[in-house]
Symmetry: C2
Subunit: 320 residues, 2 copies
Protein backbone atom coordinates (compact mmCIF):
# COMPACT_ATOMS: atom_id res chain seq x y z
CA UNK A 1 0.00 0.00 0.00
CA UNK A 2 1.33 3.46 -0.86
CA UNK A 3 1.57 5.69 2.19
CA UNK A 4 0.07 8.71 0.49
CA UNK A 5 -3.14 6.71 -0.03
CA UNK A 6 -3.64 6.08 3.69
CA UNK A 7 -6.19 8.61 4.84
CA UNK A 8 -6.24 10.01 8.33
CA UNK A 9 -9.52 10.19 10.25
CA UNK A 10 -10.45 11.13 13.78
CA UNK A 11 -12.37 8.42 15.65
CA UNK A 12 -14.42 9.32 18.70
CA UNK A 13 -15.80 6.58 20.93
CA UNK A 14 -18.55 8.05 23.11
CA UNK A 15 -19.01 5.58 25.96
CA UNK A 16 -21.28 5.47 29.00
CA UNK A 17 -18.57 6.93 31.27
CA UNK A 18 -15.97 8.52 28.97
CA UNK A 19 -15.37 9.91 25.51
CA UNK A 20 -12.23 8.49 23.85
CA UNK A 21 -10.36 10.03 20.91
CA UNK A 22 -7.97 8.43 18.44
CA UNK A 23 -6.26 9.53 15.25
CA UNK A 24 -6.67 6.56 12.93
CA UNK A 25 -4.89 5.41 9.79
CA UNK A 26 -6.22 2.10 8.45
CA UNK A 27 -6.41 -0.13 11.50
CA UNK A 28 -3.76 1.77 13.46
CA UNK A 29 -4.46 4.33 16.15
CA UNK A 30 -1.47 6.63 15.58
CA UNK A 31 -2.23 9.17 18.30
CA UNK A 32 -4.52 9.54 21.30
CA UNK A 33 -5.34 12.00 24.05
CA UNK A 34 -6.75 11.37 27.53
CA UNK A 35 -10.50 10.62 27.47
CA UNK A 36 -13.11 13.07 28.75
CA UNK A 37 -15.20 11.82 31.70
CA UNK A 38 -18.90 12.22 30.83
CA UNK A 39 -19.76 12.48 34.55
CA UNK A 40 -18.05 15.89 34.64
CA UNK A 41 -20.81 17.28 32.40
CA UNK A 42 -24.46 17.32 33.37
CA UNK A 43 -25.69 18.67 30.03
CA UNK A 44 -24.89 18.04 26.39
CA UNK A 45 -23.77 21.59 25.42
CA UNK A 46 -20.64 21.89 27.62
CA UNK A 47 -19.65 18.30 26.82
CA UNK A 48 -19.92 19.09 23.10
CA UNK A 49 -17.75 22.18 23.71
CA UNK A 50 -15.13 20.01 25.41
CA UNK A 51 -15.23 17.50 22.55
CA UNK A 52 -14.84 20.32 20.01
CA UNK A 53 -11.76 21.63 21.86
CA UNK A 54 -10.10 18.20 21.77
CA UNK A 55 -10.89 17.94 18.05
CA UNK A 56 -9.24 21.35 17.51
CA UNK A 57 -6.09 20.27 19.38
CA UNK A 58 -5.82 16.99 17.47
CA UNK A 59 -6.32 18.70 14.11
CA UNK A 60 -3.54 21.14 14.99
CA UNK A 61 -1.25 18.13 15.57
CA UNK A 62 -2.59 16.21 12.53
CA UNK A 63 -3.61 18.60 9.75
CA UNK A 64 -4.08 15.51 7.52
CA UNK A 65 -7.33 14.58 9.33
CA UNK A 66 -10.03 14.66 6.63
CA UNK A 67 -13.09 13.34 8.46
CA UNK A 68 -14.54 12.64 11.90
CA UNK A 69 -16.45 9.53 12.95
CA UNK A 70 -18.33 9.31 16.24
CA UNK A 71 -19.67 6.11 17.82
CA UNK A 72 -22.39 6.63 20.44
CA UNK A 73 -23.97 4.21 22.94
CA UNK A 74 -27.59 4.43 21.84
CA UNK A 75 -29.99 4.83 18.96
CA UNK A 76 -28.99 7.28 16.26
CA UNK A 77 -30.43 8.14 12.87
CA UNK A 78 -27.37 7.61 10.72
CA UNK A 79 -28.77 9.53 7.75
CA UNK A 80 -29.28 12.76 9.71
CA UNK A 81 -26.72 12.11 12.44
CA UNK A 82 -29.30 12.95 15.08
CA UNK A 83 -29.16 10.96 18.31
CA UNK A 84 -32.53 9.51 19.38
CA UNK A 85 -31.28 8.87 22.91
CA UNK A 86 -28.22 7.48 24.71
CA UNK A 87 -28.89 4.58 27.06
CA UNK A 88 -26.65 5.68 29.94
CA UNK A 89 -26.02 9.38 29.32
CA UNK A 90 -28.91 11.55 30.58
CA UNK A 91 -30.05 14.53 28.51
CA UNK A 92 -28.78 13.26 25.17
CA UNK A 93 -32.16 13.17 23.44
CA UNK A 94 -32.74 14.43 19.88
CA UNK A 95 -29.26 15.97 19.62
CA UNK A 96 -28.21 16.70 15.99
CA UNK A 97 -24.58 15.83 16.78
CA UNK A 98 -23.47 15.39 13.18
CA UNK A 99 -24.70 18.85 12.20
CA UNK A 100 -23.22 20.49 15.31
CA UNK A 101 -19.75 18.99 14.84
CA UNK A 102 -19.78 19.68 11.12
CA UNK A 103 -20.62 23.35 11.80
CA UNK A 104 -17.80 23.58 14.32
CA UNK A 105 -15.13 21.84 12.23
CA UNK A 106 -16.08 22.14 8.56
CA UNK A 107 -15.18 18.47 8.17
CA UNK A 108 -17.46 15.62 7.10
CA UNK A 109 -18.81 13.94 10.24
CA UNK A 110 -20.61 10.63 10.74
CA UNK A 111 -22.46 9.59 13.89
CA UNK A 112 -23.27 5.90 14.32
CA UNK A 113 -24.20 3.47 17.07
CA UNK A 114 -21.01 2.32 18.83
CA UNK A 115 -21.62 -1.40 18.32
CA UNK A 116 -22.27 -0.75 14.62
CA UNK A 117 -18.86 0.97 14.54
CA UNK A 118 -17.24 -2.14 16.07
CA UNK A 119 -19.02 -4.37 13.54
CA UNK A 120 -17.87 -2.08 10.76
CA UNK A 121 -14.25 -2.30 11.99
CA UNK A 122 -14.43 -6.11 12.11
CA UNK A 123 -15.97 -6.25 8.64
CA UNK A 124 -13.61 -3.77 6.96
CA UNK A 125 -10.38 -4.55 8.80
CA UNK A 126 -10.88 -7.41 11.23
CA UNK A 127 -12.22 -10.96 11.60
CA UNK A 128 -15.01 -10.51 9.04
CA UNK A 129 -13.05 -8.96 6.19
CA UNK A 130 -14.66 -9.35 2.80
CA UNK A 131 -17.80 -11.12 4.05
CA UNK A 132 -21.22 -10.37 2.53
CA UNK A 133 -23.31 -11.60 5.48
CA UNK A 134 -22.05 -11.22 9.02
CA UNK A 135 -23.34 -10.87 12.59
CA UNK A 136 -21.24 -9.24 15.32
CA UNK A 137 -21.98 -9.23 19.03
CA UNK A 138 -20.15 -7.20 21.64
CA UNK A 139 -20.46 -8.27 25.25
CA UNK A 140 -19.88 -5.77 28.02
CA UNK A 141 -22.02 -3.87 30.54
CA UNK A 142 -24.52 -3.82 27.71
CA UNK A 143 -24.78 -6.30 24.87
CA UNK A 144 -24.71 -4.74 21.41
CA UNK A 145 -24.09 -5.76 17.87
CA UNK A 146 -24.00 -5.00 14.21
CA UNK A 147 -25.09 -6.84 11.09
CA UNK A 148 -23.84 -6.94 7.52
CA UNK A 149 -26.24 -8.18 4.81
CA UNK A 150 -25.74 -8.00 1.04
CA UNK A 151 -22.30 -6.52 1.68
CA UNK A 152 -23.64 -3.46 3.50
CA UNK A 153 -23.94 -2.47 7.15
CA UNK A 154 -27.61 -3.13 7.91
CA UNK A 155 -29.35 -0.06 9.29
CA UNK A 156 -33.00 -0.80 8.53
CA UNK A 157 -35.98 1.53 8.25
CA UNK A 158 -35.06 4.01 11.04
CA UNK A 159 -31.33 3.15 10.92
CA UNK A 160 -31.46 1.45 14.33
CA UNK A 161 -31.05 -2.20 13.22
CA UNK A 162 -28.54 -4.58 14.80
CA UNK A 163 -29.52 -4.93 18.45
CA UNK A 164 -29.00 -8.62 19.33
CA UNK A 165 -28.65 -7.66 23.01
CA UNK A 166 -32.33 -6.70 23.06
CA UNK A 167 -33.56 -9.91 21.44
CA UNK A 168 -35.38 -12.34 23.72
CA UNK A 169 -34.14 -15.75 24.80
CA UNK A 170 -37.28 -16.41 26.85
CA UNK A 171 -40.72 -15.01 26.03
CA UNK A 172 -41.61 -15.12 29.74
CA UNK A 173 -38.22 -13.87 30.94
CA UNK A 174 -36.90 -10.82 32.80
CA UNK A 175 -38.33 -7.42 31.87
CA UNK A 176 -35.78 -5.21 30.11
CA UNK A 177 -35.19 -1.52 29.50
CA UNK A 178 -37.89 -1.27 26.82
CA UNK A 179 -40.47 -3.52 28.48
CA UNK A 180 -39.06 -6.39 26.43
CA UNK A 181 -39.16 -9.78 28.09
CA UNK A 182 -36.13 -12.05 28.35
CA UNK A 183 -33.58 -9.88 26.52
CA UNK A 184 -30.10 -11.37 26.18
CA UNK A 185 -28.57 -8.27 27.79
CA UNK A 186 -30.62 -8.88 30.94
CA UNK A 187 -28.88 -12.25 31.37
CA UNK A 188 -25.34 -11.80 30.11
CA UNK A 189 -24.54 -8.13 30.64
CA UNK A 190 -21.50 -7.81 32.96
CA UNK A 191 -23.55 -7.02 36.06
CA UNK A 192 -26.16 -9.69 35.38
CA UNK A 193 -23.44 -12.31 34.92
CA UNK A 194 -21.91 -11.34 38.29
CA UNK A 195 -25.24 -11.31 40.14
CA UNK A 196 -26.37 -14.64 38.65
CA UNK A 197 -22.95 -16.18 39.38
CA UNK A 198 -23.12 -15.14 43.01
CA UNK A 199 -26.57 -16.79 43.23
CA UNK A 200 -25.24 -19.89 41.50
CA UNK A 201 -22.36 -20.23 43.99
CA UNK A 202 -24.76 -19.62 46.88
CA UNK A 203 -27.12 -22.35 45.63
CA UNK A 204 -24.12 -24.69 45.72
CA UNK A 205 -23.28 -23.62 49.27
CA UNK A 206 -20.50 -21.09 48.57
CA UNK A 207 -20.56 -17.40 49.42
CA UNK A 208 -18.76 -15.20 46.93
CA UNK A 209 -18.50 -11.43 46.83
CA UNK A 210 -19.77 -9.76 43.68
CA UNK A 211 -16.19 -8.67 42.86
CA UNK A 212 -15.18 -12.34 42.82
CA UNK A 213 -17.97 -12.97 40.32
CA UNK A 214 -16.99 -10.54 37.57
CA UNK A 215 -16.60 -12.14 34.11
CA UNK A 216 -12.80 -11.74 34.45
CA UNK A 217 -12.77 -13.49 37.88
CA UNK A 218 -15.10 -16.22 36.60
CA UNK A 219 -12.89 -16.80 33.56
CA UNK A 220 -9.82 -17.22 35.75
CA UNK A 221 -11.70 -19.58 38.09
CA UNK A 222 -13.03 -21.68 35.19
CA UNK A 223 -9.64 -21.95 33.51
CA UNK A 224 -8.21 -23.11 36.86
CA UNK A 225 -10.78 -25.92 36.95
CA UNK A 226 -13.47 -24.48 39.25
CA UNK A 227 -16.46 -26.69 38.29
CA UNK A 228 -19.03 -24.14 39.39
CA UNK A 229 -17.41 -21.43 37.29
CA UNK A 230 -17.31 -23.84 34.34
CA UNK A 231 -21.06 -24.47 34.79
CA UNK A 232 -21.68 -20.73 34.93
CA UNK A 233 -19.88 -20.25 31.61
CA UNK A 234 -21.87 -23.13 30.12
CA UNK A 235 -25.06 -21.35 31.15
CA UNK A 236 -23.84 -18.06 29.68
CA UNK A 237 -22.88 -19.88 26.47
CA UNK A 238 -26.32 -21.52 26.20
CA UNK A 239 -28.02 -18.12 26.47
CA UNK A 240 -25.64 -16.39 24.06
CA UNK A 241 -25.99 -19.34 21.65
CA UNK A 242 -29.78 -18.89 21.54
CA UNK A 243 -29.48 -15.27 20.42
CA UNK A 244 -26.73 -16.18 17.95
CA UNK A 245 -28.85 -19.06 16.60
CA UNK A 246 -31.81 -16.76 16.12
CA UNK A 247 -29.62 -14.44 14.07
CA UNK A 248 -28.37 -17.46 12.07
CA UNK A 249 -31.87 -18.77 11.26
CA UNK A 250 -32.89 -15.32 10.10
CA UNK A 251 -29.73 -14.15 8.33
CA UNK A 252 -27.65 -17.25 7.42
CA UNK A 253 -24.38 -15.35 7.97
CA UNK A 254 -20.89 -16.50 7.01
CA UNK A 255 -19.68 -15.76 10.53
CA UNK A 256 -20.71 -14.83 14.03
CA UNK A 257 -18.04 -12.56 15.54
CA UNK A 258 -17.98 -12.12 19.32
CA UNK A 259 -16.13 -9.24 20.96
CA UNK A 260 -16.21 -7.08 24.09
CA UNK A 261 -14.84 -7.65 27.57
CA UNK A 262 -16.83 -10.82 28.34
CA UNK A 263 -15.47 -12.47 25.16
CA UNK A 264 -11.98 -12.26 26.70
CA UNK A 265 -12.97 -15.33 28.73
CA UNK A 266 -11.82 -17.30 25.66
CA UNK A 267 -12.25 -21.07 25.48
CA UNK A 268 -14.43 -21.35 28.61
CA UNK A 269 -17.02 -19.34 26.67
CA UNK A 270 -16.25 -20.19 23.03
CA UNK A 271 -16.08 -24.00 23.39
CA UNK A 272 -19.58 -24.48 24.86
CA UNK A 273 -20.86 -21.68 22.59
CA UNK A 274 -19.76 -23.51 19.44
CA UNK A 275 -21.16 -26.79 20.78
CA UNK A 276 -24.54 -25.19 21.47
CA UNK A 277 -24.71 -23.50 18.07
CA UNK A 278 -23.59 -26.48 16.01
CA UNK A 279 -25.96 -28.88 17.76
CA UNK A 280 -28.99 -26.64 17.10
CA UNK A 281 -28.65 -25.66 13.44
CA UNK A 282 -29.59 -27.40 10.19
CA UNK A 283 -26.51 -28.47 8.24
CA UNK A 284 -27.23 -25.98 5.45
CA UNK A 285 -26.69 -23.20 8.02
CA UNK A 286 -23.87 -24.63 10.12
CA UNK A 287 -21.55 -26.38 7.68
CA UNK A 288 -19.85 -23.19 6.55
CA UNK A 289 -20.52 -21.03 9.62
CA UNK A 290 -17.52 -19.56 11.44
CA UNK A 291 -17.73 -18.54 15.09
CA UNK A 292 -14.86 -16.13 15.67
CA UNK A 293 -13.46 -13.88 18.37
CA UNK A 294 -13.26 -10.21 17.34
CA UNK A 295 -9.90 -9.11 15.93
CA UNK A 296 -10.03 -5.73 17.64
CA UNK A 297 -10.29 -5.14 21.32
CA UNK A 298 -10.83 -1.78 23.06
CA UNK A 299 -10.02 0.21 19.91
CA UNK A 300 -12.71 -1.38 17.70
CA UNK A 301 -15.08 1.54 18.26
CA UNK A 302 -12.47 4.19 17.38
CA UNK A 303 -11.25 2.31 14.31
CA UNK A 304 -14.77 1.59 13.05
CA UNK A 305 -16.02 5.15 13.58
CA UNK A 306 -12.98 6.53 11.74
CA UNK A 307 -13.31 4.04 8.86
CA UNK A 308 -17.01 4.77 8.52
CA UNK A 309 -16.37 8.51 8.32
CA UNK A 310 -13.85 7.99 5.52
CA UNK A 311 -16.22 5.86 3.48
CA UNK A 312 -19.05 8.34 3.91
CA UNK A 313 -16.79 11.28 3.05
CA UNK A 314 -15.75 9.44 -0.13
CA UNK A 315 -19.38 8.77 -1.06
CA UNK A 316 -20.72 12.24 -0.31
CA UNK A 317 -20.67 15.22 -2.62
CA UNK A 318 -17.82 17.63 -1.73
CA UNK A 319 -18.63 20.09 1.03
CA UNK A 320 -19.23 23.71 0.10
CA UNK B 1 -50.12 -1.03 -17.72
CA UNK B 2 -49.98 -2.12 -21.35
CA UNK B 3 -51.21 -5.68 -21.85
CA UNK B 4 -48.34 -6.65 -24.10
CA UNK B 5 -45.94 -5.90 -21.25
CA UNK B 6 -47.56 -8.41 -18.90
CA UNK B 7 -45.38 -11.48 -18.98
CA UNK B 8 -46.74 -14.94 -18.38
CA UNK B 9 -44.96 -17.32 -16.01
CA UNK B 10 -45.75 -20.73 -14.63
CA UNK B 11 -45.80 -20.91 -10.84
CA UNK B 12 -45.41 -24.26 -9.09
CA UNK B 13 -46.10 -24.54 -5.37
CA UNK B 14 -44.56 -27.75 -4.08
CA UNK B 15 -46.25 -28.43 -0.74
CA UNK B 16 -45.93 -31.17 1.86
CA UNK B 17 -48.94 -33.06 0.43
CA UNK B 18 -49.52 -31.70 -3.09
CA UNK B 19 -47.91 -29.86 -5.98
CA UNK B 20 -50.03 -26.96 -7.25
CA UNK B 21 -49.71 -25.28 -10.65
CA UNK B 22 -50.85 -21.85 -11.78
CA UNK B 23 -50.35 -19.75 -14.90
CA UNK B 24 -49.60 -16.29 -13.55
CA UNK B 25 -49.78 -12.80 -15.03
CA UNK B 26 -48.83 -10.08 -12.53
CA UNK B 27 -50.80 -10.98 -9.41
CA UNK B 28 -53.49 -12.93 -11.26
CA UNK B 29 -53.59 -16.70 -11.56
CA UNK B 30 -55.22 -16.95 -15.02
CA UNK B 31 -55.31 -20.74 -15.30
CA UNK B 32 -54.82 -23.77 -13.06
CA UNK B 33 -54.94 -27.55 -13.22
CA UNK B 34 -55.68 -30.09 -10.47
CA UNK B 35 -52.74 -30.52 -8.06
CA UNK B 36 -50.61 -33.66 -7.97
CA UNK B 37 -50.69 -35.58 -4.67
CA UNK B 38 -47.10 -36.15 -3.49
CA UNK B 39 -48.22 -39.28 -1.58
CA UNK B 40 -48.80 -41.04 -4.92
CA UNK B 41 -45.03 -40.95 -5.53
CA UNK B 42 -42.48 -42.65 -3.29
CA UNK B 43 -39.45 -41.33 -5.17
CA UNK B 44 -38.43 -38.04 -6.75
CA UNK B 45 -37.96 -39.28 -10.37
CA UNK B 46 -41.56 -40.29 -11.18
CA UNK B 47 -42.89 -37.19 -9.40
CA UNK B 48 -40.58 -35.01 -11.50
CA UNK B 49 -41.90 -36.84 -14.60
CA UNK B 50 -45.48 -36.07 -13.55
CA UNK B 51 -44.59 -32.41 -12.95
CA UNK B 52 -42.91 -32.22 -16.37
CA UNK B 53 -46.07 -33.61 -18.07
CA UNK B 54 -48.25 -30.97 -16.41
CA UNK B 55 -45.80 -28.27 -17.50
CA UNK B 56 -46.02 -29.58 -21.07
CA UNK B 57 -49.84 -29.47 -21.02
CA UNK B 58 -49.92 -25.96 -19.61
CA UNK B 59 -47.38 -24.68 -22.13
CA UNK B 60 -49.51 -26.14 -24.92
CA UNK B 61 -52.45 -24.09 -23.59
CA UNK B 62 -50.32 -20.99 -22.89
CA UNK B 63 -47.46 -20.69 -25.39
CA UNK B 64 -46.73 -17.25 -23.88
CA UNK B 65 -45.18 -18.84 -20.76
CA UNK B 66 -41.57 -17.57 -20.67
CA UNK B 67 -40.31 -18.90 -17.34
CA UNK B 68 -41.03 -21.35 -14.54
CA UNK B 69 -40.77 -20.67 -10.82
CA UNK B 70 -40.95 -23.43 -8.23
CA UNK B 71 -41.45 -22.94 -4.49
CA UNK B 72 -40.41 -25.89 -2.32
CA UNK B 73 -40.98 -26.63 1.40
CA UNK B 74 -37.37 -26.88 2.55
CA UNK B 75 -33.84 -25.61 2.16
CA UNK B 76 -32.67 -24.89 -1.36
CA UNK B 77 -29.54 -23.31 -2.79
CA UNK B 78 -31.12 -20.60 -4.91
CA UNK B 79 -27.99 -19.98 -6.97
CA UNK B 80 -27.73 -23.57 -8.19
CA UNK B 81 -31.39 -24.54 -7.78
CA UNK B 82 -30.37 -27.67 -5.90
CA UNK B 83 -32.63 -28.77 -3.06
CA UNK B 84 -30.75 -29.50 0.20
CA UNK B 85 -33.75 -31.38 1.63
CA UNK B 86 -37.53 -31.07 1.93
CA UNK B 87 -38.91 -31.14 5.45
CA UNK B 88 -41.92 -33.39 4.82
CA UNK B 89 -41.18 -35.09 1.49
CA UNK B 90 -38.89 -38.11 1.93
CA UNK B 91 -36.15 -38.75 -0.64
CA UNK B 92 -35.83 -35.17 -1.83
CA UNK B 93 -32.19 -34.69 -0.84
CA UNK B 94 -29.58 -33.01 -3.09
CA UNK B 95 -31.93 -32.90 -6.09
CA UNK B 96 -30.77 -30.41 -8.79
CA UNK B 97 -34.39 -29.51 -9.63
CA UNK B 98 -33.59 -26.30 -11.48
CA UNK B 99 -31.21 -28.05 -13.86
CA UNK B 100 -33.59 -31.00 -14.41
CA UNK B 101 -36.59 -28.82 -15.25
CA UNK B 102 -34.50 -26.52 -17.42
CA UNK B 103 -33.22 -29.54 -19.40
CA UNK B 104 -36.79 -30.82 -19.87
CA UNK B 105 -38.36 -27.51 -20.86
CA UNK B 106 -35.65 -25.25 -22.27
CA UNK B 107 -37.14 -22.42 -20.19
CA UNK B 108 -35.45 -20.41 -17.43
CA UNK B 109 -36.34 -22.03 -14.11
CA UNK B 110 -35.95 -20.78 -10.52
CA UNK B 111 -36.28 -22.92 -7.41
CA UNK B 112 -36.78 -21.15 -4.10
CA UNK B 113 -38.01 -21.88 -0.58
CA UNK B 114 -41.83 -21.65 -0.56
CA UNK B 115 -42.01 -19.10 2.25
CA UNK B 116 -39.43 -16.95 0.45
CA UNK B 117 -41.78 -17.08 -2.57
CA UNK B 118 -44.66 -15.87 -0.41
CA UNK B 119 -42.50 -13.06 0.98
CA UNK B 120 -41.45 -12.13 -2.53
CA UNK B 121 -45.12 -11.98 -3.64
CA UNK B 122 -46.01 -9.72 -0.68
CA UNK B 123 -43.03 -7.49 -1.37
CA UNK B 124 -43.49 -7.18 -5.15
CA UNK B 125 -47.29 -7.22 -5.38
CA UNK B 126 -48.82 -7.35 -1.91
CA UNK B 127 -48.82 -5.76 1.54
CA UNK B 128 -45.11 -4.86 1.46
CA UNK B 129 -44.90 -3.22 -1.95
CA UNK B 130 -41.95 -0.89 -2.36
CA UNK B 131 -40.44 -1.51 1.07
CA UNK B 132 -36.67 -1.74 1.56
CA UNK B 133 -36.74 -3.68 4.84
CA UNK B 134 -39.48 -6.22 5.51
CA UNK B 135 -40.13 -9.39 7.52
CA UNK B 136 -42.83 -11.90 6.48
CA UNK B 137 -44.09 -14.83 8.51
CA UNK B 138 -46.39 -17.54 7.26
CA UNK B 139 -48.23 -19.62 9.83
CA UNK B 140 -49.46 -23.10 8.92
CA UNK B 141 -48.48 -26.68 9.73
CA UNK B 142 -44.99 -25.26 9.67
CA UNK B 143 -43.97 -21.68 10.37
CA UNK B 144 -41.89 -20.09 7.63
CA UNK B 145 -40.86 -16.67 6.50
CA UNK B 146 -38.91 -14.42 4.25
CA UNK B 147 -36.89 -11.26 4.75
CA UNK B 148 -36.15 -8.24 2.59
CA UNK B 149 -33.11 -6.08 3.48
CA UNK B 150 -31.57 -3.29 1.41
CA UNK B 151 -34.36 -3.79 -1.15
CA UNK B 152 -33.41 -7.41 -1.89
CA UNK B 153 -34.73 -10.79 -0.82
CA UNK B 154 -32.26 -11.89 1.85
CA UNK B 155 -30.73 -15.27 1.09
CA UNK B 156 -27.53 -15.17 3.13
CA UNK B 157 -24.34 -17.19 2.79
CA UNK B 158 -25.87 -20.57 1.76
CA UNK B 159 -29.11 -18.98 0.45
CA UNK B 160 -31.15 -20.46 3.29
CA UNK B 161 -31.86 -17.26 5.29
CA UNK B 162 -35.34 -16.30 6.46
CA UNK B 163 -36.46 -19.01 8.88
CA UNK B 164 -38.29 -17.23 11.73
CA UNK B 165 -40.18 -20.45 12.48
CA UNK B 166 -36.92 -22.04 13.65
CA UNK B 167 -35.93 -19.15 15.92
CA UNK B 168 -36.20 -19.78 19.63
CA UNK B 169 -38.64 -18.13 22.02
CA UNK B 170 -37.25 -20.05 25.01
CA UNK B 171 -33.65 -21.21 25.34
CA UNK B 172 -34.82 -24.11 27.53
CA UNK B 173 -37.89 -24.91 25.44
CA UNK B 174 -39.14 -27.86 23.36
CA UNK B 175 -36.61 -29.64 21.18
CA UNK B 176 -37.26 -29.08 17.47
CA UNK B 177 -36.49 -30.77 14.17
CA UNK B 178 -32.84 -29.61 14.15
CA UNK B 179 -32.13 -30.11 17.84
CA UNK B 180 -32.99 -26.45 18.32
CA UNK B 181 -34.63 -25.59 21.62
CA UNK B 182 -37.83 -23.58 21.87
CA UNK B 183 -38.46 -22.94 18.18
CA UNK B 184 -41.55 -20.86 17.37
CA UNK B 185 -42.84 -23.59 15.05
CA UNK B 186 -42.88 -26.06 17.93
CA UNK B 187 -45.40 -23.82 19.73
CA UNK B 188 -47.56 -22.27 17.05
CA UNK B 189 -47.57 -24.75 14.19
CA UNK B 190 -51.16 -25.88 13.45
CA UNK B 191 -50.82 -29.19 15.28
CA UNK B 192 -49.00 -27.70 18.27
CA UNK B 193 -51.70 -25.03 18.62
CA UNK B 194 -54.39 -27.72 18.63
CA UNK B 195 -52.58 -29.98 21.12
CA UNK B 196 -51.77 -27.09 23.47
CA UNK B 197 -55.34 -25.79 23.20
CA UNK B 198 -56.76 -29.18 24.14
CA UNK B 199 -54.47 -29.20 27.20
CA UNK B 200 -55.50 -25.63 28.06
CA UNK B 201 -59.22 -26.53 27.95
CA UNK B 202 -58.53 -29.66 30.01
CA UNK B 203 -56.67 -27.65 32.65
CA UNK B 204 -59.79 -25.49 32.91
CA UNK B 205 -62.01 -28.59 33.26
CA UNK B 206 -63.28 -28.90 29.69
CA UNK B 207 -62.71 -31.85 27.37
CA UNK B 208 -62.35 -30.89 23.73
CA UNK B 209 -61.54 -33.11 20.77
CA UNK B 210 -58.48 -32.14 18.77
CA UNK B 211 -60.74 -31.28 15.79
CA UNK B 212 -62.51 -28.72 17.99
CA UNK B 213 -59.10 -27.21 18.75
CA UNK B 214 -57.89 -26.41 15.24
CA UNK B 215 -56.88 -22.77 14.69
CA UNK B 216 -60.08 -22.28 12.63
CA UNK B 217 -62.28 -23.72 15.42
CA UNK B 218 -60.41 -21.68 18.05
CA UNK B 219 -60.86 -18.50 16.01
CA UNK B 220 -64.60 -19.06 15.75
CA UNK B 221 -64.84 -19.81 19.47
CA UNK B 222 -62.83 -16.72 20.40
CA UNK B 223 -64.84 -14.43 18.14
CA UNK B 224 -68.01 -15.82 19.77
CA UNK B 225 -66.67 -14.79 23.17
CA UNK B 226 -65.24 -18.08 24.52
CA UNK B 227 -62.87 -16.76 27.22
CA UNK B 228 -60.63 -19.82 27.12
CA UNK B 229 -60.22 -19.56 23.36
CA UNK B 230 -59.43 -15.84 23.77
CA UNK B 231 -56.73 -16.73 26.32
CA UNK B 232 -55.32 -19.33 23.95
CA UNK B 233 -55.00 -16.72 21.22
CA UNK B 234 -53.35 -14.32 23.67
CA UNK B 235 -50.78 -17.02 24.42
CA UNK B 236 -50.20 -17.66 20.73
CA UNK B 237 -49.84 -13.91 20.15
CA UNK B 238 -47.28 -13.58 22.98
CA UNK B 239 -45.15 -16.33 21.44
CA UNK B 240 -45.44 -15.01 17.90
CA UNK B 241 -44.69 -11.49 19.16
CA UNK B 242 -41.40 -12.64 20.67
CA UNK B 243 -40.15 -14.02 17.36
CA UNK B 244 -41.40 -10.91 15.53
CA UNK B 245 -39.71 -8.65 18.12
CA UNK B 246 -36.43 -10.50 17.70
CA UNK B 247 -36.61 -9.87 13.96
CA UNK B 248 -37.40 -6.19 14.65
CA UNK B 249 -34.45 -5.67 17.02
CA UNK B 250 -32.12 -7.24 14.48
CA UNK B 251 -33.54 -5.84 11.23
CA UNK B 252 -35.57 -2.70 12.05
CA UNK B 253 -38.08 -3.45 9.26
CA UNK B 254 -40.76 -1.14 7.92
CA UNK B 255 -43.36 -3.88 8.36
CA UNK B 256 -44.03 -7.32 9.75
CA UNK B 257 -46.42 -9.17 7.42
CA UNK B 258 -48.26 -12.21 8.75
CA UNK B 259 -49.89 -14.74 6.43
CA UNK B 260 -50.85 -18.41 6.27
CA UNK B 261 -53.86 -20.29 7.57
CA UNK B 262 -53.43 -19.38 11.25
CA UNK B 263 -53.38 -15.66 10.35
CA UNK B 264 -56.98 -16.03 9.13
CA UNK B 265 -57.97 -15.88 12.81
CA UNK B 266 -57.89 -12.08 12.30
CA UNK B 267 -58.40 -9.70 15.23
CA UNK B 268 -58.26 -12.41 17.92
CA UNK B 269 -54.64 -12.89 16.89
CA UNK B 270 -53.64 -9.49 15.50
CA UNK B 271 -54.94 -7.33 18.38
CA UNK B 272 -52.91 -9.02 21.15
CA UNK B 273 -50.00 -9.42 18.73
CA UNK B 274 -49.81 -5.66 18.11
CA UNK B 275 -50.17 -4.96 21.82
CA UNK B 276 -47.30 -7.34 22.66
CA UNK B 277 -45.01 -5.92 19.99
CA UNK B 278 -45.67 -2.25 20.68
CA UNK B 279 -45.21 -2.66 24.44
CA UNK B 280 -41.79 -4.33 24.01
CA UNK B 281 -39.97 -2.14 21.47
CA UNK B 282 -38.00 1.09 21.77
CA UNK B 283 -39.82 4.00 20.13
CA UNK B 284 -37.19 4.31 17.40
CA UNK B 285 -38.21 0.83 16.23
CA UNK B 286 -41.96 0.87 16.81
CA UNK B 287 -43.09 4.37 15.84
CA UNK B 288 -43.10 3.65 12.12
CA UNK B 289 -43.55 -0.13 12.24
CA UNK B 290 -46.56 -1.63 10.47
CA UNK B 291 -47.98 -5.02 11.46
CA UNK B 292 -50.01 -6.20 8.50
CA UNK B 293 -51.95 -9.25 7.35
CA UNK B 294 -50.67 -10.72 4.09
CA UNK B 295 -52.44 -9.51 0.95
CA UNK B 296 -52.35 -12.91 -0.70
CA UNK B 297 -53.85 -16.07 0.66
CA UNK B 298 -53.38 -19.59 -0.76
CA UNK B 299 -51.96 -18.30 -4.05
CA UNK B 300 -49.04 -16.37 -2.51
CA UNK B 301 -46.62 -19.22 -3.22
CA UNK B 302 -47.66 -19.55 -6.88
CA UNK B 303 -47.59 -15.81 -7.50
CA UNK B 304 -44.24 -15.34 -5.76
CA UNK B 305 -42.56 -18.27 -7.52
CA UNK B 306 -43.80 -17.00 -10.89
CA UNK B 307 -42.72 -13.41 -10.19
CA UNK B 308 -39.29 -14.55 -9.03
CA UNK B 309 -38.76 -16.59 -12.20
CA UNK B 310 -39.59 -13.56 -14.35
CA UNK B 311 -37.14 -11.32 -12.51
CA UNK B 312 -34.37 -13.90 -12.72
CA UNK B 313 -35.09 -14.54 -16.42
CA UNK B 314 -34.80 -10.78 -17.01
CA UNK B 315 -31.50 -10.59 -15.13
CA UNK B 316 -29.89 -13.67 -16.66
CA UNK B 317 -27.99 -13.79 -19.93
CA UNK B 318 -30.17 -15.19 -22.77
CA UNK B 319 -30.30 -18.99 -22.96
CA UNK B 320 -28.37 -20.69 -25.76
Amino acid sequence: MIASHIHTALGIDFGGTSVKFGVVQGHDVIDRVPPIATDDYTEPAPLIDAIARVIEDLRARHPSITSIGVGVPGFVNFRTGTIHNLTNVPGWVKIPLREILHQRTGLPVTVENDANCMAYAEWKQGAGRGMEHLVCLTLGTGVGGGIITHGHLLRGAQSVAGEPGQTSINYQGRKGAYGNLGSLEDYIGNNEIAADARDHYLAKGYERSITDCTPAALATAASEGDQIAIEIWQNIAAKLATAALNACWLLNPEAIIIGGGVAKAGAVLFDPLKENINSQLAAAFSENLQILPAAFSNDAGLIGAAALSLEEADNSPPLA
